[in-house]
């Protein structure tokens, strides 16, 4: 039953922000149905997709995520009536912002996975993992975290000129 695990040189970290009512239950179903999906995905459970703030995505990238999955109930199925409708608009805007500052949108996947769609969860996670694996590590935000503070560069020509003029 178990497929032999293929060895890869790069294992991407995928953070999945999921809603507790649909996608979390869907992922649970995939598990209880013994479906195999990549273990690269770390699932974070939220009450609703409407609770997922864009700042969580920035934070995830800063802390080493290579790909992000945001998944919740299908439109019309929200436990809180309209949380996913609001999330849909918010993320439509946020992905435009990310694109504008130069983040590759292929690293972010949005999906609707209901509690009955264990198979779709496996499909979405596998596709995203393979896509991000092909793209390599997400270095942009991580590099920023490692960078020195802006005043670290004290040897620049402007300051030198000011120093000499003193």
């Amino acid at each position: 039953m178990h497929v032999d695990k293929q060895k890869h040189t790069f294992e991407p970290k995928i953070i999945a922000f999921v809603c507790t009512w649909c996608t979390y239950a869907g992922a649970d179903l995939a598990g209880t149905s013994r479906m195999q999906y990549p273990s690269n995905v770390r699932v974070l459970k939220f009450p609703c997709t409407g609770r997922i703030d864009p700042v969580f995505i920035i934070k995830a990238f800063q802390q080493g995520a290579d790909g992000i999955l945001i998944s919740g109930c299908h439109p019309g199925d929200c436990h809180y009536i309209a949380g996913n409708y609001h999330a849909r608009r918010r993320f439509a805007a946020f992905r435009k912002l990310l694109e504008f500052i130069g983040v590759d949108l292929n690293r972010i996947q949005f999906s609707w996975v209901s509690a009955a769609e264990g198979g779709k969860w496996v499909e979405v996670v596998t596709d995203l993992t393979e896509r991000v694996r092909a793209m390599g590590p997400m270095v942009e935000f991580k590099d920023l975290v490692l960078e020195e503070q802006w005043s670290g560069n004290l040897n620049n020509p402007e300051l030198q000129a000011v120093y000499e003029a003193m």
Binding site: P54, V55, I58, A92
Partner: protein, 307 residues
């Protein structure tokens, strides 16, 4: 080619503001008027709150009247008396911010007396406050302004602003230039811009829409945005800022003007405004809206990006 912009109407506007302020203060229509007065440097201006009719002669309007005075009406600022009706001098762009605040239930229209300015444009910066208003020195926001005449004010001086000459659409051009780049080039551009940030939060302080009692970026349990002026926290701050203003920003461009490090902050705001116009056909205007584009939804919104 540099061309002078006709602002001859500004002296008439100054006289009209003064007499109107004197009238509404002496008959107790308002308890205070927020306007502009001459600054200490020649040609510069600064905001002033006047409470007696005698002070009305201090009010002026020139091309150096850059401030968006609406910020003084928000909860975040405590300098203006909160009792009674307040008179305020607004340009078209400031009025859009005020209308946005009305829509967000931050202000009540009946507590305000709006003195609208038929605006022909203001300077881009106060570095040379007595500079002549030309197609070079005019503020970038004015180049794309289509609302010279404010709508729905209590008093507007009866002058017709001279139509603006054909101006280079600086924001639209810059957005187009960035959009044509590859993602990594754009990242490099913004990385350089954001790394200049010193986290002085002047952009937050001057923004009419940043009226939260406690900003998300000041909270540290959990800390969502790093507070030190380092590149990663700076990037997060500017993304959060752009996102929180998306669908609300009225385009007064004060953030960009006050930025001591010259980060093109309004570029992000204009980009978001453009996208929200395209996505949800929603933009800031003179009509009070109960909900903004990101606080409402339609069942048939585009979801082509969602699997």
């Amino acid at each position: 080619m540099t061309q002078t912009i006709d602002i001859s109407s500004y002296s008439t506007i100054t006289d009209a503001i003064r007499s109107e302020a004197r009238r509404i203060l002496s008959d107790s229509t308002v308890s205070a008027v927020i306007g502009y007065t001459a600054g200490r440097r020649k040609g510069s201006t600064q905001p002033i709150v006047i409470t007696t009719a005698d002070d009305a002669d201090q009010l002026i309007f020139t091309a150096a009247c850059l401030n968006d005075l609406v910020v003084y009406l928000t909860k975040a600022k405590k300098d203006v008396p909160k009792s009674g009706r307040i008179g305020i001098v607004v340009k078209g762009c400031d009025l859009k911010a005020l209308v946005g605040l009305l829509g967000e239930s931050q202000l009540k229209r009946e507590n305000l007396y709006l003195i609208g300015i038929p605006c022909s444009g203001v300077l881009g910066s106060l570095l040379k406050p007595s500079a002549e208003l030309t197609t070079e020195t005019i503020a970038s926001k004015c180049c794309e302004c289509s609302d010279q005449l404010p709508v729905g004010c209590d008093f507007v001086p009866t002058v017709t602003p001279a139509p603006l000459p054909d101006l280079e659409k600086r924001y639209a051009n810059e957005i187009a230039r960035l959009e044509a780049m590859t993602p990594s080039e754009r990242w490099e551009f913004w990385k350089e811009q954001f790394s200049k940030c010193i986290k002085c939060y002047a952009c937050r302080q001057v923004c009419p829409f940043c009226f939260c009692e406690q900003c998300l970026c000041d909270r540290n349990r959990p800390q969502m945005v790093e507070q030190t002026p380092r590149p990663s926290g700076n990037t997060a701050w500017h993304l959060v800022r752009a996102m929180h203003l998306a669908g609300r920003c009225a385009g007064c461009a004060e953030c960009e003007r006050v930025c001591p490090m010259d980060i093109p902050l309004n570029l992000l705001n204009r980009k978001m405004a453009k996208e929200l116009k395209e996505l949800f056909n929603s933009e800031a205007g003179f009509e009070v809206r109960d909900t903004g584009p990101l606080t409402s939804y339609r069942e048939d919104d585009d979801q082509s990006f969602i699997r």
